[in-house]
Structures are given as structure tokens and as C-alpha cells.
Amino acid sequence: MAEERINAEQVAHVAGLAKLEFTPDQLETFTGQLEKIIGMFEELSQVDTEGIPVTSRVTDRHNALREDVAVKSDERAALLANAPETANGLIKVPAIIDESGDGE
């Protein structure tokens, strides 16, 4: 490709930010596809946007205020039923640091 917009190293960096990982083959495919899509995005540089404000929402509302009312809910069992792993009525996760090699 004549002009490199994004390379495999950058794609791997972005994947890290997005908490995704790719095999070397996948990384190659994604790099090629992202390169083309980002190439398409560059057409936006043709548009003169000097002084044009950004639109980030199209709702007709500014604030949506309501009374802060406490509502009782008893959904603990149903919520926990969706968790991949539970123990003693709590969601179970692995240790933050590596579980192997700590002498267990």
C-alpha cells in the first residue's frame, strides 16, 4: 500500500485498549480491513468544517429531571442467575494477579 494509515503494531495497540486479542492471522486481516475503512474516512478531510459546531446528540431535551424515589427490588436471584460464576450469593471472579505460580 502506497500510504500506510495504520499498521499491525497500531492495530495491536488499539486491540489492547479495547480489551481484545487477535491471532497473527486475524491481526493481518483486521489491519488490511481497517486500513481500507480508515482510508474511506479520510474523504472527510475534503469538507471545510471551519467554525462548524459538533453535533453529538439530536434529542430535543436538555435536562430530564425527576423525583429521586427509592424503589424496592427483589431481583438478586434472577440477577445472579445471569452471572457466569457465583459463590455464596456473590459473583465470583478469578484473582486479579495470576493464579498460577503463587505456591498454591
Binding site: I6, V11, V14, A15, L17, A18, K19, L20, E21, F22, F30, Q33, L34, K36, I37, I38, M40, F41, E43, L44, S45, V47, T49, I52, P53, V54, T55, S56, R57, V58, T59, D60, R61, N63, A64, R66, E75, A78, L79, A81, N82, A83, P84, E85, I91, V93, P94, A95, I96, I97, D98, E99, S100
Partner: protein, 487 residues
């Protein structure tokens, strides 16, 4: 029982007159569904026992003669959460997810005695234009099962087109209701942003997403939007404007209506056979006493790029919640917490979802934010201004919904940019938050072609009025695919 020869009004009068009970209607719907859906795979998950129980309870209570939707079977896109009914968004990530609450639109369906038949197939997390990105099955177009039904609401569209249900709900972020409506020869409405509550819609692009109805006729569609429209305390972006009765202006009289046809919507990028259908539609509107004049939406050509930056950025943020901890897929044999996040997301998401997350993360990342995300937001403003200018002089805009009729399964799935270009005519409407509707306008090589009607903000009524007049003057909505029902 199929829904080729009956609309909501006639079904409703049969139910009120007790020619048909809600339970009989529900049983017949499931009997037809099982036969027809074996050929098109439009449903992911059925709600049969609960639907039948609800129908029997409704028969015992009696059908409200004032509620045209009472007892009517409905399909719900699988990114709209349904309490106690598995909701997957067609992702392995949510394969076993059972919501603990109903989306506001689902509460409105059940409170108004609609019978939820099941959840319809879609592109994973609504990302795609063919329903081929579903993690579970590929829905086929009932007009030609070698072709896609469009997407992302392809299951809802195919189910309605095949006569399985008279109404289904979908969601539209960049064309996901209108494009499949066009590909299947049905009516699909993307309401104004804020017209319908998004509470319980699994978020994709939060500044773009809207839920809307898909039906075989304009009048049915208006009734189905009446049901779900309105402010909701759970969605701070839902409008507090009064909701009109969308069925009220359906007179067939559009004399003097001023219609705009953007020249960019009829250029070389559009299949000549699609353009022919639209030209005939223009003539039809003129015959009905409307005026149609050419206008320009000069920045609409930049819509696809702006959209894929904005929608992907919003998606990359919205989909951070899928981390393998509280619900959803968790990878096996993980060593530590970081491993749970990375491996669960990498194994749980499909390729298109990963592509969008990557595009969004890139567009928002240091060094690229100004050139991409900020710039896209400015171009969005210019697209909005183009529309505002046209609506100073016109009541509505028309054009094709999609550049082509339905393409073959497998043809575009490996080429993301070609797939993204399917949305070129629908995306500007989402960026501007306007209402847009696709209605059947003819055929190209035996496949349906949709006419898109774009309205001013919160003016769905004009779209229904014009769409109804067109429908009354034509018979495209009466055509049905050979597949399905009693054909």
C-alpha cells in the same frame, strides 16, 4: 393462518366479533410459523407457552374493541429485552442471557394485550446489513431464499413479509429497519430520535438508535407506532412532545403536498432498475396532486464515513459493559481478571462487532480524536443543515431506501466497505435524528424495491399520510412471496 389477506383492522374485527379467539389466532400463528420459518429462519427464540397462556387470559378477559392491537401476534427483535425470555442480540456473548426486566416498548405491548410470539434474528448487536452477522443462523429472504433479508432487523422483516406475523418491531441505527423493509417489500418506520423510548434496547449507537414498527401496510404501521411512542421516565432522551394519532391523517388526499427528490439519491451509485422504480413513484405522487422537485443534499455523500466513525465510537463505549463478569459469556480456563476481560470479549464477539469496536476505539484514541471523531461530529452538523434547508420549502423528501434490491447470501459479507455502502441513503436520516419510512414501490428482477420517505423532525404523520396515499393508488403492498402461508 397467514397474514397475507388480513390486516390489523380485519383481524381486530374478527376478534371483537368472536369469529376468532385470541387463542385460536395464536395457535394458528405458531402452526404457520413452524412450517414457514423452517425455510427462512427468521426467529431465534419462541415464546409459545407464555403466548398461548396470555391469549387464553385475554379471551377470558375479553378483547377491548377500542384497542386494534389486542390479541395481535407480534415479533420482537432480539436486541429488545424481554423479561424471563432469553435475549441474545444474536451474539454468543449473550447466548444464555435472561433479562430481569422488560424494555418500555415490550411493557407497552403486553399491557395492551399484544401476544409476543418470539424474538427475531438480526445481525449481532445490530451491526450489519444482511443478518449474516448473527452468531446463530442466517435468515433468508422469503422472496428468494438464496438472498439476504437485509439487516440488521432482517428476522423481523422476513417474518412479516412471509406472513408469519402481521407486525414486528425492529431497531434502526443507520437503516436497520428501512433497508430490510425495502428488501422484503414491507413497510418499516424509523421514528424521529426521541419519539420512542430506548429503555431496554441493547445500546449500539446511543445518539442514533430508535425502535420502530415493521408491517405489511402503512395503516398497520401507524397503529403499531401509536402503541410505542411517547415519553418515558427511564429514557432522558425521549421527547415530552405530545404524540398525535398517526392513523388520523390517512385520507388518501395529498393534493398540494410539496415533495423534494435529492439528486444525490438518484445518481450513478444507485442501481438503474431501482431508479426506474423511484421515477415511477415520483410520477405516481404527481398524479396524486403533489409536486415533486429536485433538491440537493450536498453533504449526504459524507454520511457513511461520518456515521461509521460516530456509531463505532458510541458502540466501542457501549460494548465495554460486556466483560464476562456479571452476565454474558465468560471464557474458560482463565488465569486472572485481565484474562477474563480479554478472552471473554475475544471469544464472545463476532468479527463485525470487533471491527466496529476497533474502529471506534481508534477514532477516539489520542492523536486521532480530532481528525476523526471531532470532524465526523462537524460533518453531522452540515448534514443536519442540508435537511433543514430543504424542509424550509418542502413537506417531505423521497428517494430510494437502498441502492440495490436484496443481494445474494455470501456476496458482500467478506467486504466491509461494500456492505457499509448499503446504508448510504438511510444513514443521513439517523445522523439528523429525522423520521424515515420505507414502503413497497415496485420490483426489480422479481425482488422488492422500497421507496424511502424522509420527514421533518417529529413529523411522522406526513410520512404516513403520503405513504398511505401512495399505497392506495398502487398494489405493490398486496404482492406476497410464493413461500409461506397458504400459497
Amino acid at each position: 393462518m397467514d397474514f397475507f389477506n388480513q390486516d390489523l383492522t380485519s383481524l381486530h374485527s374478527d376478534l371483537v366479533a368472536k369469529k376468532l379467539s385470541a387463542a385460536e389466532l395464536t395457535q394458528a400463528t405458531f402452526a404457520n410459523l413452524k412450517q414457514t420459518d423452517a425455510k427462512i429462519d427468521s426467529f431465534l427464540n419462541l415464546n409459545e407457552d407464555e403466548a398461548l397462556a396470555a391469549a387464553k387470559a385475554l379471551d377470558a378477559k375479553g378483547i377491548n374493541a377500542d384497542n386494534v392491537l389486542a390479541g395481535i401476534p407480534v415479533g420482537v427483535k432480539d436486541n429488545i429485552v424481554t423479561k424471563n425470555l432469553t435475549t441474545t442480540a444474536a451474539s454468543k456473548m449473550l447466548e444464555n442471557f435472561v433479562p430481569v426486566y422488560n424494555a418500555t416498548v415490550v411493557d407497552k405491548m403486553t399491557q395492551n394485550d399484544m401476544i409476543i410470539v418470539g424474538k427475531t434474528n438480526m445481525d449481532e448487536f445490530a451491526m450489519g446489513g444482511s443478518t449474516e452477522n448473527s452468531a446463530f443462523k442466517v435468515t433468508k429472504n422469503p422472496w428468494d431464499v438464496s438472498r439476504v433479508p437485509g439487516g440488521s432487523s432482517g428476522g423481523s422483516a422476513a417474518a412479516v413479509a412471509a406472513g408469519i406475523v402481521p407486525v414486528a418491531y425492529g431497531s434502526d441505527t443507520g437503516g436497520s429497519i428501512r433497508q430490510p423493509a425495502s428488501f422484503n417489500g414491507i413497510v418499516g418506520m424509523k421514528p424521529t430520535y426521541g419519539r420512542v423510548s430506548r429503555w431496554g434496547l441493547i445500546a449500539f449507537g446511543s445518539s442514533l438508535d430508535q425502535i420502530g414498527p415493521m408491517t405489511r401496510t402503512v395503516k398497520d404501521n401507524a397503529a403499531a407506532l401509536n402503541l410505542i411512542a411517547g415519553n418515558d421516565v427511564h429514557d432522558g432522551t425521549s421527547s415530552e412532545r405530545e404524540v398525535p394519532d398517526f392513523t388520523a391523517g390517512l385520507t388518501g388526499d395529498i393534493k398540494g403536498m410539496k415533495i423534494a427528490l435529492p439528486k444525490e439519491y438518484m445518481d450513478d451509485g444507485i442501481d438503474p432498475k431501482v431508479r426506474e422504480v423511484i421515477k415511477a413513484a415520483v410520477k405516481q405522487f404527481e398524479d396524486l396532486g403533489a409536486t415533486v422537485e429536485e433538491v440537493s443534499l450536498p453533504h449526504s455523500r459524507y454520511g457513511v464515513s461520518a456515521y461509521y466513525i460516530i456509531a463505532s465510537s458510541e458502540a466501542s463505549s457501549n460494548l465495554q459493559r460486556f466483560d464476562g463478569i456479571r452476565y454474558g459469556f465468560r471464557a474458560k480456563d482463565v488465569k486472572n481478571l485481565e484474562d477474563v476481560y480479554v478472552r471473554s470479549r475475544s471469544e464472545g464477539f463476532g468479527d463485525e462487532v470487533k471491527r466496529r469496536i476497533m474502529l471506534g476505539t481508534f477514532s477516539l484514541s489520542a492523536g486521532y480524536y480530532d481528525a476523526y471523531f471531532h470532524k465526523a461530529g462537524q460533518v453531522r452538523t452540515m448534514i443536519i443543515n442540508d435537511f433543514k434547508k430543504v424542509f424550509e420549502d418542502y413537506d417531505l423528501i423521497i428517494g430510494p431506501t437502498a441502492p440495490t434490491p436484496a443481494f445474494k447470501i455470501g456476496d458482500e459479507i467478506s467486504d466491509p466497505i461494500t456492505m457499509y455502502m448499503n446504508d448510504v441513503l438511510t444513514i443521513p436520516v439517523n445522523l439528523a435524528g429525522l423520521p424515515g419510512m420505507s414502503i413497497p414501490a415496485g420490483f426489480a428482477d422479481g425482488m422488492p424495491v422500497g421507496l424511502q420517505l424522509i420527514g421533518n423532525s417529529f413529523d411522522e404523520s406526513t410520512l404516513y399520510k403520503a405513504g398511505y396515499a401512495f399505497e392506495q393508488a398502487t398494489d405493490f403492498h398486496q404482492a406476497t412471496p410464493d413461500l409461506g402461508g397458504q400459497h
